[in-house]
C-alpha cells in the first residue's frame, strides 16, 4: 500500500493524512494489542469467512423443508435447532450472512462514496454552493430515518435496490458533514494553495490534495456506517419491510421466530447471536481503528 500518496509532502504530518508517521503510529498502537479490538477483528474475520465460504459447508440447504422434525431443540445434527417448517436454523443463519453483509456493505459503501464526494466538493468550493448544500444536508439530518424509510418502502415496495438507496441516502448526509469538516482542516494549507496557484483544476485538487488527507476519516466512516447499516436493515427486515420470506435474513428470521419464543426460543436466539456478534464486533472495530488513526471516536446518537 502506498502510504504517502502524491500531494503529501514527504515526512510531514499534515491534517489527518495517511502519512508515514501516522501509519507507523497505527502499527505501534496495534502492537500494544488492545484486546477488545483484536477480539472484534477476529469475530469480523469469522463473519466474513462465513459469508464467503458458508454455502460450501452449511449442513443443509436453507430452504429445504423438513430436514428434521419441526421445533427440534438444538442438537448435534441441528446446532441451532429446527424451525416451524422443519428447516435447519443454523444453515439459515449461515446463508443469511451473505444477505446481511452484502446489503449493508453496499449501502455503507455507496453512502461513503456519495457523502465524501459531496463533502469534498463543499469544502473546496465553499461559498454559496457550500451554504445551500449544507442546508439541504441539515434538513436530511433532522428527518427521522426509520419513519421515512418505512413510508418509502411501504410505498414503492421493499426491494433490495430501494432498501440500499434509502439507507445510503440517509447515511450519505451524515458522512458528508464529517468529510467536509475533515477537508476544511486541510483546505487552507499551503500545499493546497500551491496546487491552486499551479493552475490545477478543482477536480484534480480535490482528488490529489484533499482526498489523501481525508482517507482515514473515510475508512472510519465506512466501518461505522457498515455497523449502522446492519442495524438499520435488520430493523427493517424485522418490521417486515426488508427481505421477503423465505429468504434467510436474520432480522426476518427473528421476526418469524418470535411467535414461538416461549416454546422454541432457539428460533430467535440463533439469528440474534449472529446479528449481535456482528454489530458489537463492528462497533468495537470502529472504535479501534478511529483510535489507531488518531481520530476522536465517532460516537453520535444512533441514526
Amino acid at each position: 500500500m502506498d502510504l504517502a500518496p502524491a500531494g503529501t509532502p514527504a515526512g510531514g504530518e499534515i491534517g489527518r493524512g495517511w502519512t508515514v508517521s501516522r501509519a507507523a503510529g497505527a502499527v505501534r498502537w496495534l502492537r500494544r494489542q488492545r484486546l477488545a479490538f483484536l477480539i472484534a477483528a477476529g469475530i469480523l474475520l469469522l463473519h466474513v469467512g462465513v459469508a464467503l465460504t458458508g454455502p460450501v459447508w452449511a449442513p443443509y440447504p436453507p430452504d429445504e423443508l423438513l430436514v428434521g422434525d419441526p421445533f427440534k431443540s438444538p442438537s448435534r445434527e441441528h446446532l441451532f435447532g429446527t424451525d416451524n417448517f422443519g428447516r435447519d436454523v443454523f444453515s439459515r443463519v449461515v446463508y443469511g450472512e451473505r444477505t446481511v453483509l452484502s446489503l449493508s456493505l453496499t449501502a455503507a459503501g455507496l453512502a461513503v462514496v456519495a457523502g465524501s464526494a459531496l463533502g469534498l466538493l463543499m469544502a473546496y468550493v465553499r461559498g454559496w454552493l457550500d451554504e445551500v448544500v449544507m442546508r439541504g444536508v441539515d434538513v436530511v439530518l433532522t428527518i427521522p430515518p426509520l419513519i421515512l424509510s418505512l413510508l418509502i418502502l411501504g410505498g414503492v415496495g421493499a426491494s433490495y435496490p430501494v432498501i440500499i438507496a434509502t439507507v445510503a441516502f440517509f447515511f450519505a448526509a451524515r458522512v458528508a458533514t464529517v468529510i467536509r469538516a475533515a477537508a476544511l482542516d486541510v483546505v487552507s494549507e499551503d500545499f493546497v494553495t500551491a496546487a491552486r496557484l499551479r493552475g490545477e483544476s478543482a477536480a484534480s485538487i480535490a482528488r490529489r490534495e484533499l482526498l489523501p488527507n481525508v482517507t482515514s476519516s473515510m475508512l472510519v466512516e465506512f466501518s461505522l456506517r457498515t455497523g449502522y447499516s446492519v442495524l438499520f436493515i435488520a430493523g427493517l427486515s424485522f418490521l417486515g419491510f426488508g427481505s421477503a420470506p423465505p429468504t434467510p435474513d436474520w432480522g426476518l428470521m427473528i421476526n418469524e421466530g418470535r411467535s414461538y419464543i416461549s416454546s422454541s426460543p432457539w428460533l430467535v436466539l440463533g439469528p440474534s447471536l449472529a446479528l449481535a456478534s456482528l454489530v458489537v464486533a463492528l462497533s468495537l472495530f470502529t472504535d479501534g481503528i478511529s483510535d489507531a488513526l488518531g481520530l476522536s471516536p465517532f460516537r453520535r446518537a444512533k441514526a
Partner: protein, 319 residues
C-alpha cells in the same frame, strides 16, 4: 436577546423548512402506495358510481399539489381526516395511541437519567483501573445491540423463564398503577438500555477531560474531598454534552419506539404506524408520520438551542 435573534431564529426557520420538506416527502411517499385509494377502500366489487363519489370526497380527482395543499391546511387546523378502515376521525384513532407512546417514553426517561448519571460518573472515576477497558467494551456493546434483540432477550428471561412481567404490554387493560408499571417496565427498560449506553460514553468522555483539567487539579490540591471535586466542580461542566445527547436520544426513541412497540405488542403510535402502512390507511399514516417527524425535528432544534445556551463561546460568537 442577541443570542435568540442570531442563533435561535435561523434554527427555528430551518426547522420549519425541514418540517415542510418532511411533509412533502410524506405526501409523496403516500402517493406511491399501490392501487387507487377509492378502489382500495371500497373493494373490487364496488359500483363505479360509489367509487366516483368517494374519489370526490377524498379529492382524488384534483392534482397532487392541490391535494397536498388541502391536506396540509387541514392538518394545521386539526382536521386530520377520517380513517379509511375504521371510518373514525383520525384524531380519535391516533391520540389515545400517542398518549400510550408518551407514557412509555416518559418511563424510559425516568429509568435513563439516573442510570446514565451513575454509570457515566462511575466509569469516569474508574478510568485508570484494570476493569475500565472491559467496562467500556460492555458499554460500546450496549450501543451496538439492536433494540429488538435486547427486547426479545428481556422478554425471554423476564417474561418466559421468570414470569415476573407480562409478555405482552397490553397497557390499555391495566387498571391499577402497579399493573400499569408492570406492563410498561420491559419495553421502557429496552429503550433505556440503548440510549443509556450512548449517554454514558459521551458523559465519560467529557468528564474525563474535565477531571484532567487544571482547575479540577487545583480543587484537589486545595484539599477538597474527592466527592466534592467530582460532584461540584467537574460534573456541572460535563453535563452540557450529556444534555445534548439526552435530547438527541429522545429523538432516537422515536425510531426505536416503533420496533419496541412491535416486539411487545404495545398499543402505541409506532405499532399503529406499521399496521396502517400494511393496510394502507393513508390518512392515519400521514398523521402519524407528521407527528413523529415533528417531535423529532423539534427535539433536534431543542438540542441545538440548549447547546448554544450552555456554551458561553457560542453565545459570545452570536454577539
Amino acid at each position: 436577546m442577541r443570542y435568540i435573534s442570531r442563533l435561535v431564529l435561523p434554527r427555528l426557520g430551518l426547522s420549519l423548512g425541514t418540517l415542510l420538506a418532511v411533509s412533502l416527502m410524506i405526501f409523496w411517499a403516500v402517493e406511491l402506495l399501490p392501487g387507487d385509494t377509492a378502489t382500495r377502500v371500497l373493494g373490487r366489487e364496488a359500483t363505479p358510481e360509489r367509487v366516483q363519489d368517494l374519489r370526490e370526497q377524498l379529492n382524488l380527482d384534483r392534482s397532487a399539489p392541490e391535494r397536498y395543499g388541502i391536506w396540509l391546511a387541514g392538518f394545521v387546523q386539526g382536521d386530520w381526516g377520517e380513517s379509511l378502515v375504521s371510518k373514525r376521525p383520525v384524531t380519535d384513532v391516533v391520540l389515545p395511541r400517542l398518549e400510550n407512546t408518551l407514557l412509555l417514553a416518559g418511563l424510559t426517561l425516568v429509568i435513563y437519567v439516573p442510570l446514565s448519571l451513575i454509570l457515566g460518573i462511575g466509569l469516569a472515576l474508574l478510568r485508570e483501573s484494570r476493569i475500565a477497558p472491559f467496562l467500556s467494551a460492555v458499554v460500546v456493546a450496549g450501543t451496538a445491540l439492536p433494540e429488538f434483540v435486547v427486547g426479545l432477550l428481556l422478554l425471554l428471561v423476564f417474561a418466559v423463564w421468570l414470569p415476573w412481567f407480562p409478555p405482552l404490554a397490553l397497557v390499555d387493560d391495566a387498571e391499577t398503577l402497579p399493573q400499569l408499571l408492570q406492563t410498561l417496565t420491559l419495553p421502557a427498560v429496552t429503550l433505556a438500555v440503548a440510549i443509556t449506553a450512548y449517554a454514558v460514553l459521551m458523559m465519560q468522555a467529557s468528564l474525563v477531560s474535565v477531571l484532567e483539567s487544571d482547575y479540577v487539579r487545583m480543587a484537589t490540591l486545595k484539599g477538597l474531598s474527592r466527592r466534592r471535586v467530582v460532584l461540584r466542580h467537574a460534573l456541572p461542566n460535563a453535563l452540557g454534552p450529556a444534555l445534548r445527547v439526552t435530547v438527541l436520544n429522545i429523538a432516537f426513541i422515536i425510531g426505536g419506539i416503533v420496533t419496541v412497540e412491535v416486539v411487545f405488542n404495545f398499543p402505541g403510535l409506532g405499532r399503529l404506524f406499521i399496521d396502517s402502512i400494511r393496510i394502507l390507511d393513508t390518512p392515519v399514516i400521514e398523521a402519524i408520520a407528521l407527528i413523529l417527524a415533528g417531535i423529532y425535528v423539534l427535539l433536534n432544534l431543542g438540542a441545538d438551542v440548549a447547546t448554544g445556551a450552555l456554551n458561553p463561546r457560542l453565545r459570545a460568537a452570536a454577539r
